[in-house]
């Protein structure tokens, strides 16, 4: 495996990072909306988002990407691969992040909401200034854990034609006939991406466990 092949793998890595960022950004924004609706106390919103979360947590990501890309094309909506993947990952990530963040919002003690209400803070200020800063801190380890899953999940974007890291590895391995070496390098690249995140998550978790004592 020469320099050209390695650079090709790095290009794949770039796509993996970009796909992860898109999924995380889209999932973050929509996931926040899902979490807020899920804990809103408004029954139809809570039921609707509960169903959404169940659906996307209960089916494989591969199938979700398939449906968005090929399924929508069947009914005449031909999406660009980027758009399809962005939608697919956003839908997927917002279900998981929505559920993680709902739990964190509910883990903030009720007295915080009551104090904010007693101070006549309206909903937006209550959430933005009081509840969410505390909920986000609570959710950080689980959020990072999900981000690591999402990075590894981006390999599935290969099915709609993305040459991200895994697919790039596949191509190089077919050219060089050195699958062990190539996928060893691919594995190391994933590891270098995910391991620091996992470490950071574990570190935060330990620090919070200490703070909670």
């Amino acid at each position: 495996m020469g320099e050209a092949e390695f650079l090709f793998l790095l290009t794949g890595l770039k796509w993996t990072v970009l796909l992860s960022l898109v999924g995380f950004a889209g999932g973050g924004i929509c996931g926040l909306a899902v979490a807020l609706m899920r804990s809103s106390g408004i029954a139809p919103l809570e039921r609707g988002t509960a169903g959404y979360i169940a659906l996307f947590q209960g089916t494989p990501l591969l199938m979700q990407l398939f449906v968005v890309y090929y399924g929508l094309a069947l009914v005449g909506l031909k999406l660009d691969a980027w758009v399809a993947v962005a939608i697919g990952f956003t839908l997927h990530a917002s279900a998981y992040l929505g559920e993680i963040w709902r739990g964190s919002i509910e883990a903030v003690p009720r007295g915080q909401t009551e104090a904010a209400k007693a101070l006549s803070l309206h909903y937006v200020a209550r959430m933005k200034d009081v509840i969410l800063p505390q909920a986000i801190r609570i959710s950080l380890p689980a959020t990072i854990g999900f981000l690591v899953q999402l990075i590894k999940g981006t390999s599935l974007a290969a099915i709609v034609g993305f040459t991200e890291l895994t697919r790039a590895g596949n191509i190089v391995s077919n050219q060089t006939f050195k699958p062990l070496l190539v996928f060893g390098v691919v594995g190391i690249l994933y590891f270098l991406l995910c391991w620091p995140l996992s470490l950071y998550g574990a570190h935060l978790e330990r620090r919070m466990a200490v703070a909670a004592r």
């Binding site: 009551e114 007693a118 505390q134």
Partner: protein, 257 residues
Amino acid sequence: MSDAAATGAAPADAMIVMSHVEKWYGDFQALTDINLAVRKGEKIVLCGPSGSGKSTLIRCINRLEDYQKGEIRVGGTRLGDDARTIDAVRREVGMVFQHFNLFPHMSVLRNCMLAPMRSLGASRAEAEATARALLERVRIHEQAEKYPAQLSGGQQQRVAIARALCMKPKVMLFDEPTSALDPEMVKEVLDTMIGLAEEGMTMICVTHEMGFARQVADRVIFMAGGAIVEEAPPQDFFSNPRHERTRKFLGEILHQP
């Protein structure tokens, strides 16, 4: 029960009027026919056994709890289900909780500045000036930059009082403000409350600090089973309770070590 409240004719300077208020949690009736008129500047101490509905009563006044029957008026505003009147009432009514409920991720100063900036539209400079003045008044201004967790319980509760006062409320509600405190910190909080009372604040305090009641209260109200059983000025209430339940309750709390 005073005749004025029972007939619904509240005194002209009434700050809070509750008439025939009833509240249920599901099938359980937590408040039964509550009639109470609190005049401007009046100090009420509310006491009664655990589960008698004291917290529920004062939490109805700023609509942390809803109620199913009757009417509550605060400073002339009839407290309804709509966000507008609830908001109007909450701006006039400050509340202090048993467990302080300070915002742990903000400095003491930020705790005090948040609500005036967000709900009264105060500028940062105004909010900070008010917050510093009130923190000074509860004698905690040296700690303004600290976080709640760095303060003692008594200090936290004084910050909570200052935070509520920053909204310039007309009424202050206290729900057992000293019962989560170590004994040596009770006095500093009670002294703060006494200072507030002397300045003429309208106050409803749920507390079992009977020394405080004797010194400050205009009326002591005894609740049991979700109803007001007896109300009287403190000297009458303590020396000459009329109801058996009140006597039993006083016997229990006054003989504690």
